[in-house]
């Protein structure tokens, strides 16, 4: 299929994709360690391995575009420009966190930048994204704008078995809303392989049932995602309606945490095959060969990200905990009447 995009990714885009992926990878590795050292409470679902998807999509979005995320949501917020200080502070349950310690990993959000939350309920995001897209279309109409903001729900292969996904996809299609459905197909719904949880091989096939285009791309290649998502996002912005983009990807670590819970539901060979396609070294090698970045410049990116992380973790650890007296704040929006 031909693309409506004018060109290949520029050097700036390639560097941007890389920067976002590197930020996610290091953020997640350190977060996983902190959890397993008992320093951050609760459970973390890490995005390691899937970085190309969030990064490839997010390069096309502004703060006015919304995303909804999953229980595996840190990567989406990082890619959407998340501040490490506020993110680690949230994972630590501190008042300085994005959600003031009320949400934690599974609900981390940044509404100001259009990040409408990680979500502990599988497939909860798509209906909310459809609502955001409805706003985008409504506001573009009353403000007389031709180009709409776009809402992008991220979800996994397993989520497409939920009724909420179906209702959202159908509504987006009938109303031609500016939504781009990004399926991160990592081959497993928790521990259950895709072949055991759905009788289709390609989630993108479902698009036909809603009357929207469905496309498949290599979720281990940031440029492939960038291309596929870019075309779909541009179509959505200009009134062409929704698209279902399936990114074939893989989770390098377990469902929860780095070490996981020791279930052997994936073979070592399978893990090795996918790890060999790690999106970050692959992208770095390509940039070096193309002369976009030198190995030294790439290392400097990693170093800068790690320095930011170190500083941010320190900030989070030294941040105040919420005051128990404030427990009931924010259950409701205060009103003059009540």
């Amino acid at each position: 299929m031909a693309s409506s995009q004018a060109s290949e990714p520029s050097a700036e885009v390639l560097k941007d994709l890389h920067y976002r992926m590197v930020r996610i990878r290091h953020f997640e590795e350190e977060a996983g360690k902190l959890m397993e050292q008992g320093k951050s409470p609760g459970a973390l679902h890490l995005y390691i391995g899937e970085e190309a998807v969030a990064s490839g999509v997010m390069v096309h979005l502004t703060d006015n575009d919304q995303i909804t995320s999953t229980h595996r949501g840190h990567g989406h917020l990082v890619a959407k420009g998340g501040d490490f200080k506020k993110m680690y502070a949230e994972l630590f349950g501190r008042e300085t966190g994005y959600n003031k310690g009320r949400g934690g990993s599974m609900h981390i959000s940044n509404v100001d930048a259009g990040m409408l939350g990680a979500n502990g309920i599988v497939a909860a995001g798509p209906p909310i994204a459809v609502g955001a897209a409805f706003s985008n279309k409504y506001l573009a109409r009353i403000e007389g704008r031709d180009r709409m903001d776009v809402a992008v729900p991220f979800f996994g292969d397993g989520a497409t078995n939920e009724g909420a996904f179906h209702e959202a996809a159908n509504m987006a299609a009938i109303w031609k809303l500016p939504v781009v459905f990004i399926c991160e197909n990592n081959g497993y719904g928790e521990f259950t392989p895709q072949a055991e949880h759905q009788a289709i091989s390609d989630v993108a096939d479902r698009a036909a049932g809603y009357g929207m285009p469905g496309v498949i791309c290599d979720g281990m290649d940031a440029v492939a995602v960038w291309e596929a998502a870019g075309e779909a996002i541009e179509r959505a912005r200009t009134g062409g309606g929704p698209t279902l983009v399936e990114c074939k990807t893989y989770r390098f670590v377990d469902h929860v945490g780095l070490r996981g819970i020791g279930l052997h539901y994936r073979t070592d060979e399978e893990l090795e095959e996918w790890r060999a396609r790690d999106p970050i070294p692959q992208h770095e090698q390509r940039m070096i060969e193309m002369g976009v970045m030198t190995a030294e410049e790439i290392q400097a990116v990693h170093d800068a990200v790690m320095a930011d992380i170190t500083e941010s973790i320190e900030f989070a650890e030294n941040s105040p905990l919420p005051d128990p007296a404030d427990l009931l704040n924010d259950v409701y929006t205060p009103t003059a009447a009540s």
């Binding site: 031909a2 091989s201 479902r206 498949i216």
Partner: protein, 315 residues
């Protein structure tokens, strides 16, 4: 990127089932098949387990072309007499990488394929069965197609069945060819004016059939004495393509290209050439032996192979 399939697993299973029915009618009792993650073929085979022997060959499950390549190698090792492929140009290209001159009935699962054709699986299976059981001689009903052999400096070889093209791209990205202005060199085994893809550029300038023992070379991009051809290089996309020169080349004649660029085979970006990296493209008639379903069944009719009385010509 790939479009979602228009044939879901349910339909694929039905197609496999119809293929088996056809092959059984032709007397096939031994089947070998490539396993898939969703057990599509296995489920169809199970239904006919009482009528024939079905064995899955070894393969891998990487959700990539490697699965098909490995399965093709295994099917060849098993000594299969004919193979039915279900897929598009990409599937057949991968199959040819594993078993270059396979006796093949390529059944298309999409509308935009050049190599496989839309043929009803029942008769596709019947034709494959007639060849596999020796009732219809392969030489009489199949023609060996041309293939573009691609040697890439310092890396593994590759193959294209219809066309190989160098584009001034840098990424395999979402795979589909885009931007006709970035095409540089192309080598075609066939040039069909009614097809969609790079082959159409040649087809609209100098048609070349699969039967002719030459290949077509296109040098693309603006240049002295060039011509612009409005060609459908992708579904729904006519673009004016600047052609500097075009001409027939002999089978075996090498075409040298140099990176940087991306090599696309049969419409999909596949391999990245680094700056200065050389590749050689060469066409030979050593590709799959494609079984002509119509010719095979006409042969069967002529010989009375499905009749219960004496054959009409008495042979």
């Amino acid at each position: 990127m790939a479009r979602a399939s228009v044939f879901d697993n349910q339909e694929k299973r039905a197609i496999v089932r119809r293929t088996i029915v056809g092959a059984l009618a032709s007397g096939v009792r031994e089947f070998r098949y490539m396993p898939d993650t969703h057990g599509i073929t296995a489920a169809a085979a199970e239904e006919f387990a009482g009528e024939a022997n079905f064995v899955a060959v070894d393969s891998v499950r990487t959700a990539s072309a490697l699965d098909t390549i490995r399965a093709a190698e295994a099917l060849q090792a098993e000594g299969c007499g004919a193979v039915v492929t279900l897929g598009g140009d990409g599937t057949n290209r991968a199959f040819a990488l594993g078993w270059p001159d396979a006796p093949l009935v390529p059944v298309s699962t999409g509308t935009n394929n050049v190599f496989p054709t839309m043929v009803e699986a029942t008769v596709a299976g019947a034709a494959a069965g007639l060849v596999a059981t020796g009732q219809a001689p392969l030489e009489a009903v199949a023609g060996q197609v041309k293939a573009v052999h691609v040697e890439i400096e310092g890396e593994r070889d590759d193959v294209a069945l219809i066309d190989a093209v160098l584009a001034a791209d840098r990424f395999v990205g979402s795979r589909a060819i885009w931007g006709g202005d970035r095409l540089r060199e192309a080598v075609l085994t066939r040039a069909e004016p009614s097809a969609v893809g790079i082959t159409s550029i040649g087809g609209l300038l100098a048609p070349l059939t699969p039967d002719e023992d030459t290949a077509l070379r296109l040098s693309l991009g603006p240049g002295e004495g060039g011509v612009s051809v409005l060609a459908p290089i992708a579904p729904g996309l006519y673009e004016p393509i600047a052609v500097r020169s075009h001409g027939r080349i002999a089978l075996g004649e090498p075409v040298h290209v140099t990176g940087p660029g991306v090599l696309a085979f049969d419409g999909e970006r596949e391999r990245v050439l680094k700056a200065g990296q050389a590749a050689t493209l060469r066409v030979a008639r050593d590709g799959p032996r494609v079984i002509d379903v119509r010719a095979t069944l006409e042969y069967a009719a002529c010989k009375g192979l499905y009749r219960d009385d004496e054959p009409p010509d008495g042979s």
